[in-house]
């Protein structure tokens, strides 16, 4: 179930919106202040101009003329924004549109702001701004404007602020829900996949949307992990089947041998021979089990923590030395080209066995007087081990099958071996993050093992 408020995406969106709202508010307050003070400056400017004008006229014409002219100006003011007043030294109003002198008696020659008229409804009473000047003879002139326009702009900005907050809240809530739902859907797809995998549907995979975003990357990596796990499980399943099938034959032979010893009246010598054969059959079985164990260990990645640096050149030379007499017995020519001091980080025993298995195969399947060439080199900053022979080779279509456990070519079924040699090679090479490939040596087989340089 989708719980909105517990979704981290939703909470993050809200946090983002709050931050965003705070910045918008700060911006609006800045705009508001700038606009209002600009408008006030304009107003003050026109007031100053008019006041200077009137002061000059007063000097020329005297109080009564000015009073008339003030009345005249007020009558002509159609927008009713002017605020004018003239008083004498006894604070008697001579002319003007104010009922009484605004502010205290000390507020002379300064800018003053004062309420004008009655408050209508809930809104504040309209205000005015004015300057007053002392004129010769103790007269005081007040020139001002109603601030209606400024008030209006203020109202517009405040209203805009409210609307802005309203829209933002709706957007935040909707966006938060949308974003968190989108993320939730992607995560939930992964959750569902893993729920069904853990419930047993191992083949379920996370859907990759193809947008190549971080969720796709995550999905691809999770799928790779699942594939690897499935491979391992399949490997275990395969080997259980293979063990059950392929060990039946030698066990069956062993059983017959023991039965015949029991049933027949054999001479001591013949019986000894039969028992000896049985023992060697058991040894073969044990060797097969050991191989299976080693392959399983390599496939599970066991022993990686015990990897150490060792000289691969020496290891390869040792293996070649061990096998050289065997090749010579078959009059085969075993030539080597081994680069000096190739150091590798790995499991020395496993790598040695890998090299031995490949060489063992080459000697076993190459006929009398054949040629075998072992090369160790560094190519393209990789270690490259090649064992090439001019024997019968492996048909192309079986190249990928020969590393399967217990797989044997039809023609080699009669020769000794358990079909695990190359499986171990493959597992060991994989454990060392290397690559194993087979190629036609025209004629013969070329086995190439590439291993990463340390």
């Amino acid at each position: 179930m989708f719980r909105l408020f517990r979704s981290s995406a939703f909470r993050l969106t809200l946090l983002y919106m709050v931050t965003f709202g705070a910045s918008v508010t700060a911006l609006l307050i800045f705009v508001y202040n700038t606009v209002i003070s600009d408008m006030e400056d304009d107003l003050k400017h026109s007031i100053t101009v008019q006041e200077a004008d009137l002061r000059r006229s007063f000097g020329l014409l005297g109080p009564s003329e000015i009073a008339t002219s003030l009345q005249h100006m007020l009558e002509k003011d159609e927008e009713k924004t002017l605020v004018l007043m003239l008083i004498d030294r006894n604070w008697h109003v001579i002319a003007g549109n104010l009922e009484q002198w605004p502010g205290g008696k000390t507020s002379v020659d300064t800018w003053i702001k004062f309420p004008i008229g009655k408050a209508s409804g809930s809104s504040l009473p309209p205000r005015a701004i004015a300057i007053n000047t002392t004129l010769p003879g103790g007269y005081i002139l007040l020139v001002g404007r109603k601030m209606a326009e400024i008030e209006h702009v203020r109202e517009i900005i405040v209203e805009a602020l409210y609307i802005c907050f309203g829209i933002m809240f709706v957007l935040a809530a909707a966006g938060g829900m949308l974003i968190s739902y989108t993320i939730y859907r992607r995560i939930e797809a992964i959750n569902q996949t893993f729920l069904s995998v853990s419930a047993g549907a191992l083949q379920t995979r996370v859907k990759v949307t193809g947008t190549a975003d971080e969720f796709d990357h995550l999905a691809v990596h999770l799928n790779q992990t699942l594939n690897r796990i499935c491979e391992l499980i399949d490997g275990v399943r395969d080997i259980s089947y293979s063990v059950a099938h392929d060990l039946r034959t030698p066990l069956n032979r062993l059983r017959h041998r023991l039965e015949s010893i029991l049933a027949q009246q054999m001479s001591g010598e013949k019986m000894t021979e039969e028992v000896r054969k049985s023992l060697s059959e058991i040894d073969t079985l044990v060797a097969t089990f050991n191989s299976i164990l080693r392959i399983a260990q390599a496939e599970m990645g066991a022993g990686v923590e015990q990897f150490a640096d060792f000289n691969l050149s020496e290891a390869v030379r040792d293996v070649v030395d061990l096998y050289r007499p065997v090749a010579e017995e078959k009059s085969q020519q075993l030539t080597t080209e081994i680069a000096e001091d190739v150091i590798i980080n790995g499991d020395r025993h496993l790598i040695t066995q890998t090299v031995a298995n490949i060489l063992d195969n080459a000697i076993k399947y190459t006929p009398q007087a054949g040629h075998i060439m072992v090369t160790l080199a560094i190519a393209d900053s990789q270690i490259e081990l090649k064992v090439a022979d001019d024997g019968p080779g492996i048909p192309q279509e079986f190249h990928h099958k020969v590393t399967e456990k217990f797989f044997r070519l039809e023609r080699s079924r009669s020769s000794p071996g358990n079909g695990l040699g190359l499986s171990l090679v493959s597992a060991a090479v994989k454990l060392h993050r290397g690559d194993l490939s087979f190629a036609d040596n025209a004629p013969g087989l070329m086995v190439t093992v590439r291993l990463p340089l340390k």
Binding site: R276, L279, I282, D283, V286, A287, N290, L293, R294, Q297, A302, G303, Q306, D318, D321, L322, Y323, P325, V326, E329, D347, H349, L350, T352, Q353, A356, N357, D360, I363, K364, P416, G417, N418, G421
Partner: protein
């Protein structure tokens, strides 16, 4: 030879006891770890055979405890664990040899005899001699009678191992482990070919064969010495 066997599998133990007694050894058997350790500390033995997994006290712990107390009796560890690192652990703990189950009895007896005798001949030698075969370490030359036998490096090491254990049976696995330091079973019998090549050089043209094949077990250089 006095042998202590610490093994909890009754059938396996009876099999080992029978075999060792037939070979003329005196054997004492205990079935759990703590009485095994007690016995090993209380009495003198020539060789201790200890199973890796035991009730009450684990095989590795026994080996470690014995070694920590200064006991130097040769120890062979038996185990059903085949990993190479298990083997390394066993030898690190102070075991002298490590044998994976199932094993051929000939393998066990060969290793016991090699171990028991090793105790007595640790002194540095400049030469080895078996019958008329002489190996000189200073000159790295091998002669039989008056004839010098040229050997390649690995052949020299192989012969050295056989000569150091003259009169004892050494198995193919022992040769592979000690001469080549390889710990796996090669599919082809490489050791047989190696030994027969060495035999060609050592024995060809001489009346007495020095390197003998012991059927079902391995090889032996020179006459049995017991």
């Amino acid at each position: 030879m006095r042998v202590l066997l610490i093994e909890d599998d009754e059938e396996a133990a009876q099999f080992i006891i029978r075999g060792l007694e037939e070979a003329g050894h005196e054997i004492r058997h205990v079935a759990d770890g703590s009485s095994g350790l007690f016995n090993a500390v209380e009495h003198e033995y020539d060789v201790v055979i200890v199973d890796r997994m035991l009730p009450k006290l684990d095989g590795l712990t026994i080996v470690q405890t014995l070694r920590a107390s200064g006991n130097t009796t040769p120890i062979i560890i038996l185990s059903a664990l085949h990993q190479v690192d298990e083997r390394v652990k066993g030898l690190k703990a102070g075991g002298d040899d490590y044998l994976v189950k199932p094993f051929a009895f000939s393998e066990l007896i060969a290793r016991i005899e090699v171990l028991a005798r090793r105790q007595r001949s640790v002194a540095e030698q400049t030469m080895l001699q078996v019958a008329d075969l002489v190996m000189n370490f200073r000159t790295r030359k091998v002669t039989r009678g008056s004839k010098e036998i040229p050997l390649q490096n690995r052949e020299f090491l192989l012969l050295e191992y056989l000569m150091r254990h003259a009169g004892q049976v050494v198995t193919r696995t022992m040769l592979l482990e000690n001469v080549w330091d390889f710990h796996f079973d090669p599919q082809t019998n490489v050791i047989d070919v190696q030994v027969s090549r060495l035999r060609q050089k050592i024995d060809k043209g001489f009346d007495k064969t020095l390197i003998k094949t012991i059927r079902g077990a391995g090889y032996q250089l020179g006459e049995s010495n017991h």
